[in-house]
């Protein structure tokens, strides 16, 4: 359980410094064994030391080493962080040395998991830190920091308070049915309150989904018949100086062709396999391949050729994207117009660099990117939290329906309690004696 783990904790290839984090009871001694400088085992906690990482007598890198002893560390275990100055190759070499000398490679998120298991952070904070680690852009980082500060917890706690107020009132009516001076809650009296909670939840969910967008980015797929200019469009988009990374096969299941930062939001342009096999080789992208891309994408860009009449295949693609976020783009407007189409389109000429900006503007408009409030990012941005929020929202919705169906109030309360529990799960609080305590602190009861 308490083995020592290590991992590179900065994104590879980004920035001049990479940090390797080591956590566990042997972290100091293991690092010390490959460190040339002061004896790390004799240094105070929370100090930084200059030295070299060595493999036997070969110097691998010039480094700064931060020492943090348990329990005042992120994982509540001894932590050593090695600041490497070299590139990917040397950083990898340092990590390799650590592994040889007794560390185990950390699983994704394992530091956070330890922090959580050791009681250092609660679930919301854990989620927030995960996002901080993944934060690739500034907006995303701001969202992560807000989440850490407990703003999200406050928001959820506030909603839970509203729910428990209704729940305890119902409970007290049940347990003390003859107390005439306690307000008797009826489905009528709680309906407006429940509607308000419903609205608030809807609001948070909406914001949360924007949050997810900020973290994960928007997946954009480009489809179209062969030779309409898909690869040119991709290159045109990437050639804008917004491109961050190109040609990296990501760790996600989707192969990402390139990433663009658009007002701080990442566009992940996803694999359009074969797109580079242009010119003489006929592409084999059939409708099936297009369907797959459409399925994976948050946004589909359909490219049509201005110089050719609408083909059978084009019609099919138009039909496929009907229920999806999409932009229809007509390329080659520098050539003679032979295309007739009765849809909202953006006309461009990649060759002459006309209209690319209009495409980007349209994407911003579609995803409300101009309106994202970077000042108040108090939403949850993690899939697990969002699903819990949605579950709670479903409970509230059925509570509303059941009120309209004249269900007894204690049945409606079932839904409210479940919603309360789901919200509790987000902040790591589930069923406790809270309810009973609330009951007695709020009402005057007795025999």
């Amino acid at each position: 359980m308490n083995d020592t783990i290590a991992a590179i904790s900065t994104a590879l290839g980004v920035g001049a410094i990479s940090i390797i984090r080591v956590s566990g009871s042997n972290s100091i001694s293991i690092v010390n064994s490959i460190f040339k400088g002061k004896n790390l085992q004799q240094q105070k906690s929370h100090t930084i030391h200059y030295g070299h990482i060595v493999d036997n007598d070969n110097v691998i890198d010039e480094v700064l080493v931060s020492l943090m002893k348990a329990p005042k560390t992120f994982t509540k275990e001894d932590i050593v962080e090695i600041n490497c100055h070299g590139g990917i190759a040397t950083t990898n070499k340092v990590l390799e040395l650590l592994l040889i000398n007794g560390c185990r490679l950390a699983e994704p998120g394992e530091f956070t998991k330890r922090a959580f298991l050791n009681g250092r952070i609660d679930l919301v904070e854990a989620d927030g830190i995960m996002n901080l680690i993944n934060a690739k852009t500034d907006i995303s980082r701001a969202a992560s920091i807000n989440q850490l500060s407990g703003k999200v917890s406050d928001l959820i706690k506030n909603l839970r308070n509203k729910l428990i107020e209704i729940i305890t009132n119902i409970e007290v009516n049940i347990d003390y049915p003859e107390y005439e001076d306690i307000e008797v809650v009826t489905t009528k009296t709680i309906k407006p309150k429940i509607e308000k909670i419903h609205q608030e939840l809807e609001n948070i969910i909406k914001k949360s989904e924007t949050g997810k967008l900020i973290n994960d980015g928007i997946k954009v797929g480009i489809i179209g018949r062969p030779n309409v200019g898909k690869s040119s469009l991709l290159n045109a988009l990437l050639e804008e100086d917004k491109a961050i990374v190109t040609d990296i096969a990501g760790t996600t299941r989707d192969i990402v062709e390139g990433k663009i930062s658009l007002d701080g939001i990442i566009l992940n342009i996803i694999d359009t396999a074969g797109i580079r096999q242009t010119d003489n080789i006929v592409e084999q992208i059939g409708v099936e391949k297009s369907i797959e891309i459409i399925k994976k994408s948050d946004l589909v860009l359909l490219l049509l050729n201005n110089n050719e009449p609408l083909a059978f295949e084009d019609k099919k693609l138009l039909d496929l994207i009907k229920n999806k976020n999409h932009i229809i783009i007509i390329n080659k407007i520098d050539l003679e117009k032979k295309l007739n189409i009765n849809e909202k389109v953006i006309e461009i000429s990649i060759k002459n660099n006309i209209g690319i900006d209009a495409v980007l503007e349209e994407i911003k408009r579609m995803f409300n990117l101009n309106k994202i409030e970077t000042q108040d990012l108090t939403y949850l941005s993690n899939a697990r939290s969002i699903s819990l929020l949605k579950k709670a929202n479903e409970n509230i919705k059925s509570a509303k329906e059941n009120i309209d169906n004249n269900s007894p109030i204690d049945m409606i309360e079932l839904e409210l309690k479940e919603a309360w529990n789901h919200l509790g799960e987000i902040i790591g609080q589930t069923y406790t004696d809270e309810l009973i305590d609330e009951l007695f602190s709020r009402f005057c009861l007795g025999k």
Partner: protein
Amino acid sequence: MKDKYEVIVVGAGHAGCEAALASARKNHKTLLITSSISNIATMPCNPSIGGSAKGIIVREIDALGGQMGKAADATLLQMKMLNSSSGPAVRSLRAQADKITYPKFMQEILMNQKNLEIKEAMVEDLIVENKEVKGVILDDFTKITSNIVILTTGTYLKSDILVGSTRTRSGPHNEKPSLHLSDNLKKYGLDILRLKTGTPPRIKRDTIDFSKAKREDGDNKYYTFSHDEEATYDLNNQQPCYLIYTTDETKKIILDNLNKSSMYGGLNDITGVGPRYCPSIEDKIVRFSDKPKHQLFLEPESKYYDDIYLQGFSTSMPKNIQEKMVHSLPGLENAKILKYAYAIEYDAIYPTQMKPTLENKIIKNLYTAGQINGTSGYEEAACQGLIAGINAALALENKEPLILKRNEAYIGVLIDDLVTKGTNEPYRMLTSRAEYRLLLRHDNADLRLREYGYKVGLINEQQYQKFQIKKENIKKLITELKNTKITVDSEKKRIGISVYEYLKNPNINLKNLIDKYQLQLKYTDDIIEEVEIQIKYSGYITKVEREAQKMLKNEEKQIPNDIDYDKIPNLASEARDKLKKIRPLNIAQALRISGVNPADISILLIYLRKYYNE
């Protein structure tokens, strides 16, 4: 040498009576020791049996083969179904009980019970050898041996009566307390807890002007706690209760004299923790100072004497202030107090020292039930007595104990709460303590528990046959309703639908349908009611059952007996202490311990997987 008694029960309150009856009915030679035979099964506090959640406990006691429900049915003054306008899960019966005839009824049952002897004596110590109880020692040092001892001592352990600035070592109503038993339990290694409760004044009936009070009558429909017998009371001759409110004058008197109350400075050596749900009137006025008035009930105690119980007015003020307070109430301006209110402090054992069987973890073959375990209430006591009696008998027979689960009975919730969470105040059952309360209904107590009652031998063949027929009829009626099609108007269309489907509409009532469509269904009202509930709320019931299944899954994850919590790395120290003390049987129980966080459970699970290949 063969022991003379197999089971000794100490104390003949509601817990003791059930424990002794269960053990004797299971053919074990049982001795019931009480300090006063005339006080068997008395009701020292409120004159009622049942109430919200508690009424369902009484039904459960009856379903398992206990006595309380039948005694209440036979002697009640008034019967009411509480929450009848709410959903079926929260309906619960309450009887105003007669404080003379109820104990008498119970005494006769006990006297006529085969295998049961009753002895008047005061128990002051136990015979304990090698952490195993072997009998009891009386105040005159007489030893009586037995295989098993069940302690149901109520509030009698080192009890003090508190009135104003006086503290008197005494049991309720001037009875003799047990002076040394709790110290002796401490000596054997048990942790002792000091609790406090109170009771209001009793008023002479004909000195009250009832015209100033609101009359509260019983229901005009027959109900019984019992599953076996018909109601015998006179529906039109039930005794009324009355509702009044405190006045500004009451509030002023209390605030002016607050420091004279035992709890507010009258006595400075009070350590007992009182229940939050049953505060004294001075507590209510201090804690809820913005409320102008508080509700009180005037309840008859018996047909055979004059006392009216002033529910909601428990206090530990001195007698002269009590006089003033009572006289400030509407209709009680000239009232005569027959018994003054008092608070009582008493010893109890920390209930986390028990197993879910109610056997003590430290002393083998010692069982405890009722107020000694930190609970409050006749019903809470009785059900523990019944379970302790059953499990004592099952232990003698070398059989698996009866442990009811939280999704099976309020009794299961109560015992699990006690042994898992413990309590710092007298524990009262509330519907809000039961997370699966939709399954724990008044109407289905027998469907949940009668099988267990039969299996342990407290339900006889005849009762069981009747129960089987009921189950059969429920099945038959459901099938019939599925097969009966009716035509109904739905959004201007006439559609054909089965009665079963149609009943899921919350606005539809089965009895009305039977009349309207002249359905030929020959079933008794209780069958019709049961089936209607099962159909109408099937959506909710399924939902709750799913939740219960999740809990049961965690209950299957057993924690080995020999687990050493000190060997588990990274457990938070609070969690480690609690786990060591409570030693939960499974993960579900561990999850319910307050102070044990989900993170601790993950660590525990990881440890179990690692070392026990779970």
